[in-house]
């Protein structure tokens, strides 16, 4: 009963302190809120999902064509060039999601547009482009001139062009192979037939996106769906990470109240009352555990409503949450047991709690970098926060109960070790 009285007093203290509230709720929600805004819209409203910016492209098509290759004999225009095809491709409907094309007459005009910032990328198709494409002769490289501060837009343009060049290379190889086989068979290659074959291929390349070997610009709806899901995952993991980062903070701040009570003499006074010292400490511990649980519940509820974060089923979440609360409390008692005054606590908050929290965040920072992800996850597991985060990710990913329980068990081991050491050190002080 007295333990509960002490716990309620402490909880009330944490929830009426502005500083405590800011660190428990405002900061973690603010960070995730900022991330949501930065990535354009919430995961909940998929309409506004992440999209690649539209790049302004100016294009100078200098391609002189090749008299011997009329790509489209049926066309009234006798000299359709590879340059025209590329221009057409870049300006096509599918590409409008990625770039807008303005054509200019000269290479200089194109470069000037970029230098003058009216365009972000200049594409200059050289005179010998068709020749180069059809015959593999050098001097046919398309120049991509860009604003050096940009990366994503120019990269996309470059990717589209190189894809086009690849398509043409295969057309060329096919043509020469065909010509060679006709010749070997003692036949005179029919320009007409070859042209027809090329036409078919090119039209496939520019029109039919589904066919293999064609340009792989993903259909916009599919892409948006995918990025929306990715964003939701990133946000959810970050929210969990922020929550855990600050829950361990709360655990330490809660344990710090033991030092604070010692400094204001109320702890000693409690020890002179009828209430047994063990009960006093139980009350203090209970307060920390309940505060961290309340903090997590509020953060989860709020982030679910505001950011559409899906935390997982009630049972998995409970299996992640309760051991996390215990672990964060034990973590606090453990750290604080090394201190003599609350003035030293700044070092613990700024140093140990933040540093260990950052180690746990390694698994979040490296999440979308495949080469580092595994290392990041391994580093995170050196600190208790890492295990808490793992548990919440498992709960969110719908991992098996077995693996979740294993993570919870590891957290309980952490809890026991830290609590036993912390408690022993504290008990020695108040002998």
């Amino acid at each position: 009963m007295q333990a509960l009285d002490i716990a309620l007093k402490d909880i009330r203290h944490s929830f009426t302190s502005l500083f405590g509230l800011v660190f428990m709720f405002v900061v973690p929600l603010l960070i995730v809120g900022l991330m949501t805004v930065a990535f354009g819209g919430t995961a909940a409203s998929k309409q506004q999902a992440f999209s690649v910016p539209v790049t302004k492209v100016v294009l100078a098509n200098l391609d002189a064509g090749d008299q011997e290759v009329d790509l489209d004999p049926s066309d009234s225009n006798p000299s359709t060039t590879a340059g025209d095809l590329l221009t057409h491709l870049l300006a096509s409907g599918e590409m409008k999601q990625l770039m807008t094309i303005t054509t200019v007459a000269s290479a200089k005009a194109a470069r000037d547009a970029v230098d003058g910032r009216t365009a972000e990328v200049a594409v200059i198709i050289p005179t010998a482009f068709t020749k180069a494409c059809m015959e593999g002769v050098p001097g046919g490289a398309v120049e991509v001139y860009q604003d050096p501060t940009l990366t994503l837009g120019p990269d996309i343009v470059r990717a589209v062009i190189s894809q086009f060049a690849d398509e043409f290379a295969s057309v060329r190889i096919m043509t020469s192979t065909a010509t060679a086989s006709f010749t070997a068979a003692g036949l005179t290659p029919s320009t007409d037939r070859i042209t027809r074959a090329i036409r078919q291929f090119v039209s496939e390349a520019t029109a039919n996106k589904g066919a293999s070997g064609s340009l792989k610009v993903e259909a916009p709806p599919a892409k948006q769906q995918k990025s929306a899901n990715l964003l939701a995952t990133i946000l959810a993991v970050n929210m969990a990470a922020m929550m855990i980062f600050y829950v361990y903070y709360t655990g330490t701040a809660g344990a710090e109240s033991i030092l604070l009570e010692q400094e204001q003499g109320t702890l000693q006074r409690l020890f002179t009352t009828k209430t047994a010292p063990a009960v006093v400490m139980q009350g203090k511990m209970l307060a920390i555990v309940l505060t961290t649980i309340l903090q997590m519940l509020v953060l989860m509820l709020f982030s679910a409503l505001a950011f559409g974060i899906r935390w997982g089923g009630i049972l998995p979440i409970a299996i992640a949450l309760v051991p996390t609360a215990l672990c964060a409390s034990a973590f606090g008692v453990f750290l604080i047991s090394f201190l003599k005054t609350t003035r030293q606590a700044g070092v613990v908050f700024g140093g140990v709690v933040t540093a260990t929290g950052m180690l746990a965040l390694a698994s979040v920072f490296t999440m979308s970098v495949p080469s580092a992800a595994q290392l990041g996850q391994r580093i995170a597991l050196f600190v208790p926060q890492g295990w808490s985060l793992l548990a919440f990710r498992q709960a969110m990913d719908g991992a098996s109960l077995g693996s979740l329980l294993t993570t919870a068990a590891v957290m309980l081991v952490w809890t026991t070790v830290m609590f036993v050491v912390g408690r022993a050190r504290m008990a020695r002080r108040f002998a």
């Binding site: 009285d5 203290h13 204001q264 003499g265 109320t266 020890f271 002179t272 009352t273 047994a276």
Partner: protein, 314 residues
């Protein structure tokens, strides 16, 4: 004998590293009396009290509090005492009433009896009309009064107060001293520590004088003063370079002790009539002017000076 004693301290020792804070202290406190521990800063008063209230373990020796050993029966000891710590120990973000309710619960009180008792003690300390205000908005004297009230909630048979009047206004001090006497009149035993001689003089039935971890004398005020013998207490005010003069005075025949505090020099002498002319003589030759002289009966201050060679506050 045993049930007439509230406290029996037996050869108590407690050190902090090399510092022997309490070094072989023994005394008895009768039930229903006010017993003062009088001593300067660092004498070991708080350390003694901490052992008696089971906050500190004694290195050796023991104490019986209301018949229970502090080393083997701390729970029984705690249940029978109320402790007023030297520093105000309250939750400053809670109101006086909330503090009292909380501390009452820690003493096992609940519900209506607790609420009723809180009303009573608020009335005793005269803070009924400020009870809803946060402690952080209180004056030093008001905080000290609440600090005392917390120790009275469960009506303990023994109240231990550690310098409850330090640094407060005369009005709050008056009210606290009256509260202490009131407690005694209701049958409560009070162990009171102070470094104010006047307080010990006004309150105490018995006084223990502490210095450097030892009890240099215990007794009623009358007994203690008699132990100084027939010495006169001469108080003088001086202007001029007095330091070497005081050393000279210590060598004058018939002078037992010389101590200086806050510009007032106290001289203990067997016969003031014979000593005073020599004091004026040596002052004149040292170029020091004596601006006032006062000859008094010995008091607790004189006892302390006689026993330790020092003023109570130096």
């Amino acid at each position: 004998m045993e049930n007439t004693l509230a406290i029996q301290v037996q050869d108590l020792h407690r050190s902090f590293g090399q510092n022997r804070a309490v070094d072989g202290v023994s005394f008895d406190v009768l039930r229903g009396e006010i017993f003062s521990l009088l001593g300067p800063n660092g004498a070991g008063k708080t350390t003694t009290i901490s052992v008696l209230s089971c906050l500190l373990r004694a290195d050796s020796g023991d104490a019986l509090v209301m018949g229970h050993s502090v080393s083997t029966e701390p729970r029984l000891v705690k249940a029978s005492i109320g402790v007023v710590p030297q520093e105000v120990a309250l939750y400053s973000d809670l109101s006086a009433r909330e503090n009292l309710l909380f501390w009452g619960k820690m003493q096992g009180l609940r519900g209506a009896p607790l609420a009723h008792r809180v009303d009573e003690v608020l009335d005793v300390i005269g803070l009924t009309d400020r009870q809803k205000d946060r402690i952080s908005t209180y004056s030093g004297g008001m905080k000290r009064r609440v600090n005392i009230a917390v120790a009275l909630l469960h009506k303990p048979a023994l109240v231990i107060m550690d310098e409850p009047t330090v640094g407060i206004d005369p009005q709050s001090r008056r009210s606290i001293l009256d509260n202490v006497k009131q407690l005694r009149d209701q049958g409560t035993t009070v162990l009171y520590t102070t470094h104010y001689m006047e307080e010990a003089q006004e309150l105490s039935d018995h006084v223990g004088i502490m210095d450097h971890g030892t009890l240099v004398a215990v007794g009623t005020q009358r007994e203690l003063v008699q132990s100084v013998g027939e010495l006169d207490r001469i108080q003088l005010r001086l202007t001029g370079p007095a330091e070497t003069l005081l050393d000279t005075w210590k060598t004058i025949e018939g002078i037992h002790n010389v101590a200086s505090e806050d510009g007032v020099v106290t001289v203990l002498a067997a016969d003031s009539n014979r000593v005073l002319p020599r004091l004026f003589e040596s002052a004149a030759s040292a170029g020091v002017r004596i601006t006032s002289v006062d000859v008094q009966e010995p008091n607790l201050e004189a006892v302390f000076l006689r026993l330790t060679g020092r003023a109570l506050r130096d």
